[in-house]
């Protein structure tokens, strides 16, 4: 407060206009990013609430908190909310929206009004989803498998399907906006090889959003039509094939994993060079591995169907391709490590998250290779091993990246510094809580505990108790940043333009940036990650 009163605040995107209307009708990408931030945080807590209920039920072997029917709804809605209403929009719609124009030196995204439209679509979808949850919910699993979803489930499948259909369009529009912006709006001198790798990651993500999302859209339409109007495209009693549904579903939903993880990789690629004070190792490799992941990611979907009755040869091919997609991911991990090698590393909050990301993503990726191996997959498919695997990627990887990015760019977004020591503490809590929650699940799965059940044999209890205990720690770790971010908006130290001594155009404009991003149109005549020439700030070194 005191500091805010002392420095007469210059005009920026936050204080240029006030009032609810100036937010709801804004076409400024930075404000839309904040609208998204609020909405996805809301859904994160809803999804988290379901997760905690799941974990609470699994505290004891018997079904005491809820019974089977309710439990089915809990994990279904947990999955749907977390995937479609939190993680898919998270980094692209919040950090990407805020940063893509700033990083390439543009005044806005190419289509500001479509950007706002995409937020409204998200909200419409979200309201529909909430309505669905409040009036009974769905129990199909987030995967909507037919014929259960089309012919047997007596829950609100249509509503949930439509909600996800609509949210898909919001995702498509975000991706479309990014691709056009990156192609057409770069500042003079901002060549493809000077783009921050965050931009490359978002470019690759957008391609997946553009080419994958329509397929799940049409699949959900067909499911809805089958339920509502008795079309029979997936109906086995009429010669329809449920496996076709699974193919179409996973054609999107495997690449969707990369919609979730690629942007997080982009975030980490910005954080690591900054806090290692070194140029990124192998710029071109990191950029091209993003594209490689996007392309190969479309060719592995049937690894989700190894036990569903696909032919052995198909399974062999998809197994081999799944191994292949690990290569570009591994390239990235090696490049981050090589960047840190002999760097002068600062253990500030964003960097802690980046470390967490690299470790946990690697765990998730390696266990993914277990699952891509036919023999092992048959043993652990549909067990907690799978649950642990994808939570290592999605929560350990993507959410860590998201939080790291939020801390890294918070000074730019809000104009305030968050409390550094509290930040480090929260990062540590998240890391510990995460591992305590999900590591036991690898063992549980390997021992044979199936997923999607509300009760289990008593010999699994110890590991389940550990997991539930971990989830409460994790919850604390997630709540802390929310509290101190809010606190910092009022009481945090005023942030300088470039608190970390980071490279990139977004740090060369005031914090928070003016509405049109730059006071003068930037011209770029330097290479990306030019850390040899940027002094490290004292502030970030000492840690506040």
């Amino acid at each position: 407060m005191a500091t805010a009163a002392l420095t007469a605040e210059r005009e920026n995107y936050l204080n240029q206009e006030y009032g609810i209307k100036s937010w709801l009708l804004t076409v400024d990408h930075k404000r839309i990013a904040l609208l998204y931030l609020l909405s996805i945080t809301f859904f994160f807590f809803i999804g988290g609430f379901f997760a905690l209920l799941i974990r609470l039920e699994l505290l004891t072997p018997a079904g005491d908190l809820v019974q089977a029917d309710t439990y089915n709804k809990l994990f279904t809605m947990h999955g749907q909310v977390m995937v479609f209403f939190f993680l898919i929009p998270s980094i692209p719609a919040v950090l990407g929206n805020f940063l893509v124009p700033l990083m390439i030196g543009a005044k806005d995204l190419a289509f500001p009004r479509i950007n706002l439209l995409s937020w409204y679509l998200y909200i419409i979808a979200g309201v529909l989803m909430l309505h669905c949850m409040l009036t009974g919910g769905v129990d199909t699993g987030w995967t909507f498998y037919t014929p259960f979803s089309t012919a047997f489930s007596n829950t609100k499948v249509i509503e949930a399907g439509l909600a996800i259909f609509i949210s898909g369009f919001s995702s498509i529009l975000t991706g479309l906006n990014f691709v056009v912006t990156i192609h057409r709006m770069r500042a003079p001198g901002m060549t493809w090889n000077r783009l921050p790798l965050f931009i490359w990651a978002h470019y690759a993500t957008s391609i997946i959003q553009l080419l994958g999302t329509p397929v799940i859209a049409v699949t959900l339409v067909l499911v809805v039509l089958e339920r509502a109007l008795h079309l029979g495209i997936f109906d086995p009693t009429r010669g329809g094939d449920p496996l076709l549904f699974q193919h179409l579903f996973w054609f999107y939903s495997h690449p969707a994993v990369y919609i979730m993880i690629l942007p997080a990789m982009g975030v980490v690629t910005e954080i690591v060079p900054c806090f290692a004070r070194k140029r990124i190792f192998g710029y071109q490799f990191v950029a091209m591995s993003s594209i490689g992941i996007a392309v190969l990611g479309f060719l592995v979907w049937a690894h989700h169907m190894f036990v569903a009755g696909i032919s052995l040869y198909a399974a062999l091919i998809f197994s081999a391709l799944s191994y292949l997609v690990a290569v570009p991911s591994a390239i990235k991990v090696f490049n981050w490590t090589a960047t840190m090698y002999k760097g002068s590393i600062t253990f500030s909050t964003p960097m802690l998250y980046a470390f967490g990301f690299v470790g946990l993503f690697t765990m998730g990726g390696l266990t993914g290779l277990f699952l891509a191996a036919l023999g092992i997959d048959v043993h652990v498919t549909d067990t907690y091993f799978v649950i642990a695997h994808f939570h290592y990627i999605m929560v350990g990887g993507a959410v860590m990246g998201y939080l790291g990015g939020m801390h890294f760019w918070w000074p730019k977004i809000s104009g305030r510094m968050y409390p550094e020591s509290l930040g480090r503490l929260a990062a540590l809590i998240v890391f510990l809580g995460f591992n305590l929650t999900f590591f036991p699940q690898f063992i549980l799965g390997y021992l044979g505990m199936p997923r999607r059940y509300w009760q289990y044999p008593p010999e699994f209890q110890v590991l389940n108790v550990l997991s539930t205990a971990g989830s409460t720690i994790l919850a604390v770790g997630y709540l802390l940043p929310m509290v101190y971010f809010l606190w910092s908006m009022r009481y945090g130290k005023v942030a300088p333009d470039n608190p970390w001594g980071a490279s990139g155009l977004e740090w060369m404009t005031p914090s928070p940036p003016p509405t049109f991003n730059f006071d003068a149109p930037p011209v770029v005549d330097w290479e990306a990650y030019d850390y040899e020439h940027i002094p490290a700030p004292q502030e970030a070194r000492s840690g506040g």
């Binding site: 806005d108 691709v179 192609h183 057409r184 003079p188 049409v218 339409v221 009429r238 010669g239």
Partner: protein, 231 residues
């Protein structure tokens, strides 16, 4: 793309603030439209994929069901759509040459043709209703497999054909309806004289959309109506 041009124009009122000049703005919109069409291809692609698989599995039944479609109406509709694509092109051309009158006429013609298509489609659907060819409990398809008069058509597989028929033509018609909405909007603004040789991007992009919807039909027609007609 080379570096964005820095030359800034101020005069054209259609230039949005975040673009440096009209050229950049036009290129951005057009790229955006092409990308959108790519998403549309994937959207319809899902249904085409389903169609191909079932047609391969249940070919005789699909052929029989296909024969019950009205080939004349289908062919007329194909012609109607192709003509409408032509009128769209003419409208864009008129805008490039700055001929407002012609623009309006061609846009109006496009609308009429689009509505004619939907009308004919409506007639076809209605007759399917009457013949109980709508998938569901009341479905009933009588007939035999082409070339095998003593082999009756599998009711289930015929239903699958009509499920696909209604899903695909329905989605196509939905796109047509949206197109009609877009072209009504364009017609109004063309009437007001909004589209000039310097600025007619909305016309161009909506034209792309219309051609796309047209092309989808060009594929739907042979796939749905012309299976094994020779027997």
């Amino acid at each position: 793309m080379a570096d964005s041009p820095i030359a800034v124009e101020h005069h054209n009122p259609a230039l949005k603030h975040h673009f440096a000049n009209m050229e950049q703005q036009r290129e951005a919109s057009s790229l955006g439209m092409w990308l959108f069409l790519a998403t549309e291809i994937m959207f319809f692609g899902g249904m085409f994929c389903a169609y191909l698989i079932y047609r391969y599995w249940y070919f005789p039944d699909f052929a029989a069901a296909s024969k019950s479609l009205d080939i004349t109406l289908g062919a007329v509709n194909t012609a109607v759509l192709i003509c409408s694509s032509l009128t769209v092109v003419m409208a864009v051309r008129a805008a490039q040459l700055g001929k407002r009158q012609e623009q309006v006429v061609y846009l109006a013609l496009t609308l009429v043709l689009g509505l004619a298509f939907l009308g004919i489609k409506g007639v076809e659907w209605t007759s399917k209703f009457k013949e109980h060819h709508i998938p569901g409990p009341t479905f009933n398809f009588e007939g035999s497999v082409p070339g095998h008069p003593d082999q009756p058509v599998d009711q289930h597989h015929a239903q699958l054909f009509f499920s696909l028929y209604f899903a695909m033509t329905g989605m196509h018609a939905l796109h047509m309806i949206i197109g009609v909405g877009i072209f009504s909007y364009l017609l109004y603004h063309a009437w007001k004289g909004k589209y000039t040789p310097e600025y007619h991007t909305p016309l161009e992009n909506s034209g792309l959309y219309w051609h796309f919807v047209d092309i989808v039909w060009i594929y739907l027609f042979p796939l749905l109506y012309l299976i094994d007609r020779k027997k």
